[in-house]
C-alpha cells in the first residue's frame, strides 16, 4: 500500500494543489461570509490567488523532492506502464491537462479585456516634515476638559465627517456608496489606530489634493479642510473621531 502511495506521489501532489485552489477560490469566500456576517461572499483577489497558488505548487514540489527516493518516485509516475490501467489513464489526463492549463494561462493573460487596472496603493502616504513633531494641544489638559473637547469633537465630526465616514465612523455614511474608493472605516484597527494624531491632522487639513503623487490622489475624494475648519476644531474632531471609532491613536515611543 505504501509503495502504491509512493508511486502515485505525483497524483497526490496534484490533488493537494487542487485542494488548495478549491479552498482559496470557492470555500474561503463563503467561510468569510458566514464568519464576518456579510450579506455577500468575499471572493479572493486575483493577486492573492496567484501568490497563494505559486506557494501551493512550490510547497508540493519541495515536499516531493526532499529525498532522492521521493523525487524518483514522483518523476517515475510518467514512465510507461503495462499493467496499471488507472495509472495509464491518469498519465493521459496529465499529458492532456498540462498543456491545456498552460494554454489557458497564456490566453487569459493576453486576451484583450475591459477590466480596470490593478492599482498598487500605498497604505500610509509619507507624512510631511512639518507635521512630524506636531502634537495635539489638548492632549495634556485635565481629564474633565479632555472629555469636554471629545464631546465637542464628536459633534463637529457628525456635522462635517458623518456624510462619508458614517455616524459610527465605520465608513458607511450616506454618501459612501457614491465613491469609487470608499471612505475609510475608522473602526478597523488597521487604519487610524496605526498612525499618530498629527498624521490624522495632516489628512484632514490637506485631504485628497494634498496627497503625494505615489498615493494616487485622483482616487481620494477627501476634501481639504484647511481654511474651512480651524486648527482647534480639527484637533477636537480627531479626538471625537477616535472616541467614536473606539480606537486609540498610535503613541509615540520615548527615545531613551
Amino acid at each position: 500500500m505504501a509503495k502504491k502511495k509512493d508511486s502515485y506521489s505525483m497524483i497526490w501532489a496534484i490533488l493537494s494543489i487542487i485542494v488548495v485552489f478549491v479552498i482559496i477560490k470557492f470555500v474561503s469566500p463563503y467561510v468569510f461570509k458566514i464568519l464576518l456576517k456579510k450579506d455577500h461572499a468575499m471572493p479572493t483577489p486575483s493577486t492573492l490567488m496567484l501568490w497563494y497558488m505559486i506557494l501551493g505548487v512550490l510547497g508540493a514540489l519541495v515536499y516531493v523532492s526532499t529525498s532522492d527516493l521521493k523525487w524518483a518516485s514522483f518523476l517515475s509516475f510518467m514512465l510507461p506502464t503495462e499493467d496499471d490501467k488507472t495509472k495509464k489513464l491518469l498519465q493521459k489526463m496529465i499529458v492532456i491537462a498540462f498543456p491545456l492549463l498552460l494554454g489557458w494561462f497564456v490566453y487569459s493573460g493576453t486576451v484583450p479585456g475591459t477590466a480596470s487596472p490593478v492599482e498598487l496603493r500605498i497604505q500610509h502616504p509619507t507624512l510631511l516634515q512639518k507635521y512630524e513633531k506636531m502634537e495635539n494641544p489638548y492632549s495634556h489638559v485635565s481629564e474633565d476638559l479632555k472629555l469636554k473637547y471629545i464631546e465637542e469633537g464628536k459633534i463637529l465630526y457628525q456635522h462635517n465627517c458623518r456624510p462619508c465616514h458614517g455616524s459610527k465612523a465605520d465608513g458607511n455614511g450616506p454618501f459612501a456608496n457614491a465613491f469609487r474608493l470608499r471612505p475609510i472605516n475608522f473602526t478597523d484597527p488597521g487604519t487610524i489606530g496605526t498612525v499618530v494624531e498629527s498624521f490624522a491632522f495632516w489628512r484632514i487639513m490637506e485631504g485628497g489634493p494634498g496627497l503625494p503623487d505615489g498615493s494616487t490622489p485622483w482616487d481620494s475624494a477627501m476634501p481639504a479642510w484647511e481654511g474651512t475648519l480651524t486648527d482647534e476644531q480639527v484637533w477636537k474632531i480627531i479626538m471625537g473621531e477616535y472616541a467614536t471609532a473606539g480606537v486609540v491613536p498610535r503613541q509615540r515611543e520615548e527615545m531613551e
Binding site: W51, R121, H124, E132, P189, V248
Partner: protein, 651 residues
Amino acid sequence: MNKDIGSLFKGKIAIAIFSFLFVVMFQVIASHGVHAQEADEMVQYRNFFGIDARLVVWIVSELHLMFAAFVLGVPMFAVTVEIIGAKSGDIRFDNLAREFTKLLSAAFATTAAMGGLLAFCLYGLYPGFMRYMTDVFHPIMFVYALLFFAEAFCLYGYYYSWDILKEKGKWFHIFLGIMLNVFGTTLMFLANSWATFMMSPSGIDLETGALTSLHAAFENFLWMPVNIHRLIANVAFGGFVVGAYAAVKFMGAKSDEDKAHYDWMGYIGNFIGLAALIPLPFAGYYLGREIYSASPVMGNIMMGGAFSWTFIIQAILIGMLFIGGNYYLWNGMDRIEGAERYRKFIIFINVIIFFCFAVWLTPHNLPLSGEERALIGEQYHPFSKFFGVMAAKNAVVNLLILSTFFSFLIYRRANKGEILPFSKHGNSARIALIITAGLTILYLVWYALGLSHLELEADVKQYVSPLIKCLIIQITAIVITILLTFSNRGKFAQVFLLIVTSLIAVVYLAYYGFVVMEKANMVLRFLSVTQVSVVISCLIVTAVLDVFIFKNAKEVGQIRWGKIPLRSQYALLLLCVAIVTLMGLMGFIRSGLRMNWHIYGYMQDTSDGAFTPSIAYMGWTTTLIVVLFLALVSFVFWLAGLGEKKKEKTA
C-alpha cells in the same frame, strides 16, 4: 605552503593594483568635473562622468558592506570552530577553521579596496556633505584607521601563524582570532555611528549644525539597534556565503574525500546561517521600532508608505531563506542512516512553513482592481485584513522559527538511538542545565517586572497583565521541563516545552494581538517582545537540553558525508543569492528612509539624485549589485584557490 602563500599574495597584489588603477581613474574623471564648475563657489555635488553620484555611491557602498559583512561574520565562526577543534582534538575542525580563514584572507583585501573607493567616492562626489561629516567625526575617523591596522595585523598574524602555532601556541593563536573579532567588530561599530547619525542625528544643533557633543553624535539613537542587527546579519551572511562556496566545491569535487569534506562544510555553513537567521527577525523588529521612535515619518514611510512594498520583497526573500534552509536539512537526512524514523514529520513542517510564508507575505493593502473592490464591498479583503497586520505576522514568524528549530532537532537525532538516562551525565550536566534555565528565567522575570511597572493609563494597563501571565506560565513550563529532564524524561520535556511555547507565542498571543490592536494598540509593542522572549527562552533551553540528552547516545547508523543529493547544493546556492539580495535590499531601505536628507532634519540633499527611487529602479540597481558582488566574490575565491590547484598538480 610557501607557494600557497605566494599565490595568495599574487592574487591580492592583482586586486590591489586593479583597485588602485580604478581609484586613480575615478579621481581623474571626477576632478575633470571640478574644472567645469565655477571655481569661486564651494562645490557641493559632482557626478561621475555623467553618471548620477547617488547611484555610484549606492553601488560602491553596498559592495563594500557586503564584503565587510563577510569579513566580519566569518572570523566569528572560524574562531568558534577552531576552539571546538582544540577542545575536541578533532583535526577536521581545525582544517575547516583554516579554510574559512583562507576565504576571509582573500576577501579582506577587496573589502579594504572597496572601502577606499567608497571614501574617495564620497569625498569626490559629495564634498559639501563630507566636509561636514569630517568636521563632526574626524577624531573617530583616526581611531577607525588605527583599528584597521590592528585588524589587518591580527588577520594576517592569525592566518599565517597557523602552522607555527599549531602544536604549542594553539591558545595564543585562538587569542589572535578573538582579537581579530574584537577589532573588526569595533571597526564596524565606529562606521555604523556615521550611518546612524545621518538617520537620527544628535549632539549637534539642528539649526546651525554646530557640534555640541561628539559623544552624543557618536552614540546616537539608532546606533545600538543597527550594531546589533548588523552583527547578527553578518554571521548569517558569512554562513550562507561559505555554504555556497562549499556547494560549488562539492559539485566540482572528484574524490570521495573532497566530497565528504565539502558536504560537511556546506552543512556547517547552512547551520551557522540558519542559527543566526533565527534571532535576526527579532533584531530587525527592534531596529524598526526604534526607527519609528526616532521619527514617526521614517516609521510610516518604512512600513506603510513608499517603502512598504519593499517589505513584501523582503518577506519573499526571508521565506526563501527559511524554506531553503529546511529543504537542505531534509535532503541532508538522505545521507543519515536511521533518519527514516523522522521523515514522517517533514510533511507537517512543510505545510506549516508554507502556510507561515503565505501569511508573512500577505500585504495589508492589496493591489485590487475596481471590479474586485466592488465585489469585496470594502477596502480590505479578510485575508489582508487579518493576515496583513503585525499581530498575524508576529505569530507566523515565531511559528516559522519554531518549525525550523524542530527540523534541526529531528536532523540532529536522525542517527541517534537509545539515549543514556540524564542522571548518567553527572553533575556538570545538571549544573549546566540549571544555569541555562536560571539565566533564561531571570531574563523572563526581569521583563515581567518591567511590564508590571510600566507607567500607563489604567484602561491601557489592564491589557498588559495577560502578557505577564504568559511569562509566568512560560517560567513554570521551563521549571517543569528541567524537573522532567532530571527524572530522565528529557525527550518528553522537550516536546512539552515546545507545545507550551507554541500555544503561548503562536496561538494565544496571535489572538490577543488582534484584541490589543483594537483596544490598546500601544500594548502591541510589549506583546511582540513577550512573544520573542517566550520563543527565545524555549529555543535556548531546548537546544542545551538536546546537547545533553543525546550525549553519548547509541548510534543506529552512520552519516555518509558526501552522499547528499545535488539538489541540496542548489539550495545552498539559492540561500546565498537570497541573503545577498536581502542585504542589498535592506541596505537600500535603511539608507533610503532619510528620503531627501543627508542628515535627517538638518542637512538636505539638494543634488539631482535625491529622489526616492521607484521599486523598479531599486530592483534593477540591487540586482546589479548582487550580480557584481557574486562575480567579485567568485573571482576572489578563485584566486584564493589557485595555490591549491598548483599544489595538487605538483603532487
